[in-house]
Structures are given as structure tokens and as C-alpha cells.
């Protein structure tokens, strides 16, 4: 009898724990406010300890990181040396390109932030999970940051806020499979949705018009169409290649992101949400660029699992971020 009780009790305990876990998962997935609140509080409580320990142990951590990433650092060193030589050779040409770039920036509205207020934030941690491409920044609700706000770096879009505590926020990077963004190719006004594919593979983009022309070098910017969590005109990536698909008129297009998501130190959080955005009529986009009916564009969003439409061309972006 005693043996029977002893063997049954652990299974009963496991059953209780499994039921507790399933309850927690259900409560979280149903979107209740309690779980984010508890998470935010926990992060706020633990943040000072994390910062203090992180500061104290940084030399050791850097040593380990350097040791474990030696091969990558060596490769990076060689690659950067080659790039440096190339850059020096192109220095003269860059003078011309700078002027051209300035003109294109004006055309493409690459001064994308405009009058949207921003909050500068420091990246304090990489992905907290091996299954999400995120970064943690040192600004939270105390600085006016809200869930859903876009995050940009010098050249363009980084991602958007998915979790906020008082003094920290988590940013879901563009390259995460759960991230998607509505894009627009500036010259042709072709629109579509770019979706992350994780670090090992590439971003996929679904074009509304599969036959749309997207030449190499074309800049893709956020479309900012109705309901989009991103304002219009934020650079996302450049077309790196456009390969025709056999038997159809569409192309498989490859984009390179404008921001190196693996080298982020500081970012800007745009104090902007879809709710605060002006109506499409009030936003008065550039002539010729607002002709795409919003209804024809797939819904875009951040963290919803989703998205690509079978049979449409896919676009890939080299992510450069480990999970």
C-alpha cells in the first residue's frame, strides 16, 4: 500500500503541474492583462540586479563571448578588411553617390521620422529567448513608450515594441517569424508584406501584384496603410536580386535590410501608434503614392503568426541576427 502511494503521488504531482502550466498558457494566450502586468513588474524588480551584475561581470562575459565567437570574429575581421579596401577605392565615387543619395532621400522621404517625437534608447540585451528575435532596450512606459510603437535605427526600421515595463521594453525584430510589415517600393508603388523568417532563413515578402517591377536596388519603405502599426515611409530594405519564376510572370525578389540588426547599440522609439496616426486623407502622402487602395493590401501587423500567401512571390532578407 505504501509503495503504491509512493509511486502514484509523483504522477499526481506531475499532473497538477501540467494542468497548472496549461492554465497559465491559456490565460496568456487569451490575451488577459494580468500576465503582461506581472511580467512587467518582475522585469522592473529584477532590472537593477541585472544591470549591476551585468556591469560587474561584463569583462568575464565578454571573455566568454569572445572565446565562443572566435571563429566568427576571425571571419568578420577578414570580411571587414576586404570591405575597407573596397570602401577606400569607392571613396571618390561616394562623393557623387552622397549627392545622389540625398536627392533620393528627399524623393523617398528617408528623413522618415519627420515630426514624430522619438525616445532614444540603449540596447541592453539581446534575445531573451532562443525562439524569438528580440532585443531589450532601456526605456519603458516611464519614458512614454507603449506597446506597438515602431523602433528605428539610423537607416530605417528595426521592429516594434511588444512588451513594456516601467524602465525596459522588448523589441520584436523585423526578422522574427512573427513580425510582418507592410511595404511599398518607392518608384513603382508596388506594395506587399514582408515577413520575418528567423535567423537561418530569410524574410518573405508577399507582393499584392506579383508582376510588379522591383528592380535591384529599389528601396522598400513602410506603406503606412490604414491599420498599419508603422508610419509611412520608414525604410525597410533594398532589393538585392529579382529572379523570375519559371512559368509565371512573377519574380522571387531578395531584399537586404537597411539596418544591421546584429549590430544595434542605440535605437529610437517612435512615439507613434496606429491609433495616433492621422487619417489617410489627412496624412496627404506624396503624389502618386497613395493610389493603392488600402483594401487590396493584406493586413499587416507585428506579432501575429501569419502570413504569406501561397503562390505569390516571396522576398528574402538576410537577417543577420541569431535567435
Amino acid at each position: 500500500m505504501a509503495v503504491s502511494r509512493r509511486s502514484a503521488r509523483p504522477r499526481f504531482t506531475l499532473l497538477i503541474l501540467i494542468l497548472a502550466s496549461l492554465t497559465l498558457i491559456t490565460v496568456d494566450l487569451r490575451g488577459g492583462a494580468s500576465v503582461p502586468k506581472v511580467r512587467g513588474k518582475a522585469r522592473d524588480v529584477f532590472a537593477p540586479i541585472q544591470s549591476a551584475v551585468s556591469h560587474a561581470t561584463r569583462p568575464v562575459t565578454d571573455l566568454f563571448n569572445g572565446a565562443f565567437q572566435y571563429r566568427q570574429l576571425k571571419d568578420d575581421n577578414a570580411r571587414l578588411r576586404a570591405q575597407l579596401a573596397l570602401v577606400r577605392a569607392q571613396q571618390i565615387q561616394d562623393q557623387y553617390l552622397l549627392q545622389t543619395n540625398k536627392d533620393l532621400n528627399d524623393l523617398l522621404k528617408l528623413d522618415f521620422v519627420g515630426d514624430i517625437p522619438t525616445v532614444a534608447a540603449r540596447v541592453v540585451a539581446g534575445a531573451e529567448s532562443n525562439f524569438q528575435l528580440t532585443i531589450v532596450v532601456d526605456r519603458g512606459s516611464a519614458a512614454g513608450v507603449l506597446k506597438g510603437m515602431p523602433v528605428v535605427a539610423g537607416q530605417g526600421l528595426v521592429g516594434r515594441i511588444v512588451a513594456v515595463s516601467a524602465h525596459q521594453s522588448t523589441v520584436l525584430l523585423l526578422t522574427d517569424p512573427a513580425a510582418s510589415v507592410g511595404i511599398e517600393f518607392a518608384p513603382s508603388n508596388a506594395v506587399g508584406v514582408a515577413t520575418g523568417q528567423g535567423s537561418a532563413s530569410a524574410l518573405a515578402v508577399t507582393l499584392v501584384d506579383p508582376t510588379a517591377s522591383t528592380p535591384v536596388g529599389t528601396v522598400a519603405v513602410t506603406s503606412g496603410l490604414a491599420g498599419s502599426p508603422y508610419p509611412r515611409g520608414v525604410p525597410v530594405g533594398k532589393v538585392a536580386s529579382a529572379v523570375p519564376q519559371a512559368g509565371v510572370r512573377s519574380h522571387v525578389v531578395t531584399l537586404s535590410p537597411v539596418v544591421d540588426l546584429s549590430q544595434l547599440s542605440y535605437v529610437d522609439v517612435l512615439i507613434w501608434t496606429a491609433q495616433s496616426a492621422p487619417t489617410p486623407a489627412a496624412s496627404t502622402p506624396a503624389a502618386g503614392s497613395a493610389t493603392t487602395p488600402a483594401a487590396s493590401v493584406p493586413a499587416v501587423g507585428g506579432a501575429t503568426p501569419s502570413t504569406s500567401t501561397p503562390g505569390t512571390p516571396s522576398t528574402t532578407v538576410a537577417p543577420g541576427v541569431g535567435p
Partner: protein, 170 residues
Amino acid sequence: MTSEVPWLRASLAVAVVFSVHEALLRGLRIDGVRPDILLGAGIVAAIVGGPELGCVVAFVLAVLGDLFVNTPFGLSALVASTVAFFAGSIRFALGTHTRLAVPTLTFLGSITGVVMWALIGTVLGLPGLLHPHLVTIAVVVAVVNVAISPGVAVLMRWVFTPSAERSYAG
């Protein structure tokens, strides 16, 4: 059970492991993978202290870990407690004289835990979890957990020895 378990020691052990994971190892990445010693500590706890107590420790550690990520809350707890329970069950089915039990079961349990997490996450609708990099994640997590398992085993013996002796020692 309440009278047999040294909850104060268990709480201290949980606090130590969790602090090491969230503070000390927060910035460490090996081939782009963040070590998950919470999973490893839970498995070792079950190997040392038995499946029942071990899976409770694993559950608590994983719930704490879930507070700091944005994946479904409780998913890690479900995986960790289940894996720890079976690791502990196998350990005590093997007997008391298997020296390699801790590293072997920690390695296998960690790999199982990572893969199980990805599979259940996929079932719950999380995209992009089942990709080739999952192998790297599983191996790195498992190797790191094996590396820390002797230290964690010492800690868990300190926690569970009185209880383990009464319950399992022959």
C-alpha cells in the same frame, strides 16, 4: 510532503540558479544561442531529489524564466516539469550506482526539452520554430547544462539529501 521537503533550502537554490541565469548569463551567447540553465537545473533537481520534488523545482524555475521572455507564459514550465519528471523517474529506475546518470540524463533531457518546446510552441501557433538552427540550440543548451550539472548537483544534494535519503536511498 510539506514536512519532508526543506523548502527554505529549495527556495535558496532556486534563487541562486535563477539569479545566475538572468543576471550572470544574460549576455552570454554561444553560436547565437542563449544557455538555458533553468531547464538543466530542473532536470538535475529531479535526478538528485526524485521526480516528484524535481519536477516542482523545474516548474518553479521555468515559470520564473517565463516572466522574462515573451513566449507563451507557462510553456517552459510545462516542458521543464515534464522532462524533469521523466529524467528523475529514469534515474531512480536505474538505481543508485550510475555515475553517468546526471550528465547523460541532463544532456538527453535538455535536448528533449528544447525540441519539445519547439513542437508545442508550433502547435500553439508560434511561427518559425522548427528550423535547422533548432539543432544548434538543442546541442548548445544540452552541452552547457551538462557542463554546469556537477555544480547544480552539489547544490541540489544540499537541498534534497535529507528528503532523498528517506524516500529513495536503499
